[in-house]
């Protein structure tokens, strides 16, 4: 399992390939890998968004991500999981979050991946501030899934 919050650019495909290579004990065991990549849009709540700053509560964020992934691992008997979340300054089209899970079968992989994303959005202390053409604004709520 790997949980990471980083303030440098995230290439989810590189990270996935790199992590997959570390799963040396798993080949033959997992039949399903589900991934979610959240990417920054250039629009939100009726405005064009030019940039975004993601703030977090260091320590509390990592603790909650860890708990969320551990809960999912127990509930769906995951074989492994990877979560990397950006903080800092982002531009449209920058990946914000990568969630990947490995399990024996697809039902668990799909369900766990989705649950981790929704829990992360509801519990992990991150906050988005958007730069629009007319100034900056804090995002006050998540968009419905």
């Amino acid at each position: 399992m790997l949980i990471e919050v980083r303030d440098t650019p995230l290439d989810p495909w590189v990270e996935l390939a790199r992590y997959q290579h570390t799963l040396s004990a798993l080949p033959g065991q997992y039949g399903a890998t589900a991934i979610f990549i959240g990417t920054m849009r250039d629009f939100n709540d009726g405005a064009t968004v030019q940039g975004m700053t993601l703030e977090h509560y260091p320590g509390m964020t990592e603790r909650h991500l860890q708990r969320i992934v551990e809960s999912a691992t127990q509930e769906w008997r995951l074989l492994d999981a990877l979560v990397i979340h950006r903080v800092g300054v982002l531009q449209p089209n920058d990946p914000i979050v990568l969630v990947a899970v490995w399990s024996a079968q697809r039902v668990a992989a799909f369900a766990a991946c989705r649950w981790i994303v929704e829990e992360l959005k509801a519990k992990a202390p991150f906050w988005k501030r958007e730069e629009t053409g007319v100034g900056t604004r804090w995002v006050t709520h998540n968009t419905p899934g």
Partner: protein, 77 residues
């Protein structure tokens, strides 16, 4: 050792600072921490609180050495 208080995101901007300190009194609650520090500032609706990096109820008591945080609804992912 006092209680350390942290504010994040829009709440920090509104208050104009990121941290405070406060000496605990017996039975001081999370809500009490806010009212002691900000007697003239009504708590913005939907504000969340954490004690030692776990989400906390407003009635939870705090003691010296604790870290209390106040912040708006989270918007990650």
């Amino acid at each position: 050792m006092a209680i350390k208080i942290k504010y994040f995101a829009s709440l920090r901007d509104r208050l104009g600072r990121a941290e405070d300190q406060l000496d605990a009194t017996v039975g001081l609650t999370v809500a009490g921490v806010w009212m002691t520090l900000w007697p003239d500032q009504p708590l913005p609706p939907n504000t969340l609180a954490a004690v030692n990096m776990d989400y906390a109820e407003w009635t939870q008591t705090v003691q010296d050495g604790d870290e209390v945080a106040f912040f708006p609804p989270v918007t990650g992912g």
